[in-house]
Amino acid sequence: MSGGVDSSLTAALLVELGHEVDGVTLRLWGGESDQGCCSVADVEDARRVADHLGLDHHVFNFGPDFDRQVVAPYIAAHAEGRTPNPCVECNRHLKFDRLLGRARALGFDAIATGHHARVVERPDGSRRIARGADGPKDQSYVLYMLDQAALAQVLLPVGALTKADVRERAAALGLRTAAKPDSQDVCFIQASSGRRGFLESRIELTPGRIVDAEGHTVGEVDAVELVTVGQRRGLGLRSRQEPSFVTAVDVAAATVTMGRKEELLDRDLTLTDLVWADRPASGPVLAQCSAHGEVRPGVLDGDVLAWDEPQLRVAPGQSVVLYDGDEVLGGAIVG
């Protein structure tokens, strides 16, 4: 229970279904944060909702694990000029490993979260994550790492509802979080100082050159680590004849390469750290390369995804999630 409306209603729905339920709030980030994950006010909201529902509420402090498995890799990835997705790593290591393991050890049969996605059972008895009922709110992308063992013990009851339904039902139940705004962005990044503020107080940012495809210097950036492949704006370049995109980031050489859109188009994508819901897939798949990005068709052969049509380059470090229709087959990280 994060203190938001989705996990609040999740708890209420579990009670309605007749489960024996305990509420748990994870304490993950101990540093400065905006109202969002892990603030004292959010823990209080979660506790008061649990009280309202007659549930015991507990706080599990996984702060050191979060630092080690989410925050430190996030910083390290940026230091290498990659573009990590910390929410994916938090789900992989904290919610569906650390918490699920703790829940098993304490004798619970399952954990439930407020993610907008569904767990579907296939004719052969295996399970997959599927897109939630509310398309724009779908969070199946950040749940691609769930395997059969996890899927057998994870419930996502709000995945069958739209966000509007969630708020309406929460309000009808008198849950105090019914109208609370959705959390935005990465929980440990503050809106006021942003990603730059977070990173520059932890690593030394590298000033660098902006070069064109032929290696001619066309400008400067004050922090190569903050530039993402595919980026168009924010580099302070005067508008040129044709739109220009970041095609490569090289922290060691302190350069950002810009190019025309055609130079950013790739025919295929090399994947690392592939994980599968059940068994490895190959052949035609649909791939989604960012949390709310579009789905593109391609053909998977081993760890290479060949696009049906050339696609804009995906930044190294991003997660690629592979779908069969609305169902998640698995996913990987862009190498």
Partner: protein, 382 residues
């Protein structure tokens, strides 16, 4: 219904019935503000003065030395921040202080005196610190540690301070001590003594600081000048009265209570050491518990996470804590255990069981059932 056992008395002690009765009486019968000038004010003031007499006797101080506060933390803050502000200079604290002392001292860039593996202060190291530091304003060493129960040799600390920093003020946080130790005797060498009512059978939110004659403490809370300008704000008259009642009873019954509770604690700790493989009693060598407060048992179970252990004990109807209740469920090992040199993998599986005047043999039986079962379950799940 699941039988329950309350073994978290160091977090808060069950309130004595006599204290409840006294608090109720004062709340019901005495509406006056003790600073006023009429009969109702006089009646309230009389209650405060009587309580001051009781506290001063129990704590070995003069009635005018007692400053009533809103609890132990406020008394500790007033001692550390107030004494330092009154004259300036360096603050020195032990490495096992409660955050109410540790954090104000850290904010003043204070020095930290190490402890040995039993949690007892290293007097030689303290002496070296005092010799090296210039202009020491305050030394603070707690009488009984809130996590493991180590009793500090305040008389010996006082000797070192008088010899090497004669101008310094000595404070002792006696918040955990009153139930188990004759504070008047043990803290006779201290200039400032903090106590908190809810640790000895009084209500929460009321405490006191002993300030010996001639010791300067700058007020932290400014206003109407109550408590001889040392702590402004209308006194919690009913709470103070209940605190005095609890202090009187606690002191009167201390010899029998301490003996009875030490017996229960020994059975509890010995039983857990026997029932749980690899259990370690924190900071205890050769089973010698003579330097420990009677009510505390602190054990570490390697291979177990305290947070998960407390969850299972909670479900089994056993109230306990991992370290101090202020850090309950904290995943980082406590600074107290770190200062004692407890290895990290051991410290992460720490459990504090604390007994009090109301504890019974049945509570101990319950813990001897629940704790080994919970530890075994968590180890099996690894």
């Amino acid at each position: 219904m699941t039988p329950i056992a309350y073994l978290d008395c160091a977090a808060s002690m069950p309130v004595r019935q006599e204290a409840v009765a006294e608090m109720t009486r004062v709340l019901t019968e005495l509406p006056g503000n003790p600073s006023g000038a009429h009969f109702a004010a006089r009646a309230a003031r009389r209650v405060l003065d009587d309580a001051r007499d009781v506290l001063s006797e129990v704590l070995g101080a003069g009635p005018g030395d007692i400053v009533f506060t809103g609890g132990g933390t406020e008394a500790d803050n007033l001692a550390v921040l107030g004494a330092q502000a009154a004259r300036g200079g360096t603050v020195v604290v032990s490495a096992v202080e409660h955050p109410a002392v540790r954090d104000p001292a850290a904010g003043l860039d204070g020095l930290v005196a190490p402890v040995g593996c039993s949690g007892r202060i290293d007097l030689d190291a303290l002496a070296a610190l005092l010799e090296a530091a210039d202009d020491v304003a305050l030394v603070s060493v707690m009488l009984v540690n809130n996590e493991v129960g180590t009793i500090q040799p305040i008389a010996e600390v006082a000797d070192v301070v008088r010899r090497l920093a004669p101008d310094a003020v000595l404070h002792t946080d006696a918040v955990q001590a009153l139930s188990w130790v004759d504070v008047a005797e043990a803290a006779a060498g201290a200039d400032l003594i903090s106590v908190s009512a809810h640790k000895f059978g009084g209500p929460k939110g009321v405490g006191a600081l002993v300030v010996r004659p001639g010791v300067k403490v700058a007020a932290r809370q400014i206003g109407g000048g109550q408590e001889r300008d040392r702590r402004s704000g209308t006194q919690n008259v009913a709470g103070v009265a209940a605190m005095a009642t609890a202090a009187r009873l606690t002191a009167d019954r201390r010899p029998e209570d301490t003996e009875r509770i030490a017996g229960l604690r020994d059975r509890l700790a010995d039983g857990l050491l026997a029932a749980v493989p690899d259990a370690v009693e924190t900071g205890i060598t050769d089973g010698d518990r003579s330097g420990r407060a009677a009510g505390l048992a602190h054990l570490c179970f390697p291979g177990v996470e305290a947070e998960a252990l407390l969850f299972l004990l909670d479900q089994a109807g056993l109230a306990a804590s991992a370290a101090s209740s202020c850090a309950s469920g904290a995943a980082e090992p406590s600074p107290v255990l770190a200062a004692m040199g407890v290895p990290r993998d051991q410290a992460t599986g720490s459990l504090r069981l604390s007994l009090g005047w109301a504890s019974t043999a049945a509570d101990v039986d319950r813990a001897l059932e629940a704790v080994p079962a919970a530890v075994a379950r968590l180890r099996a799940a690894r």
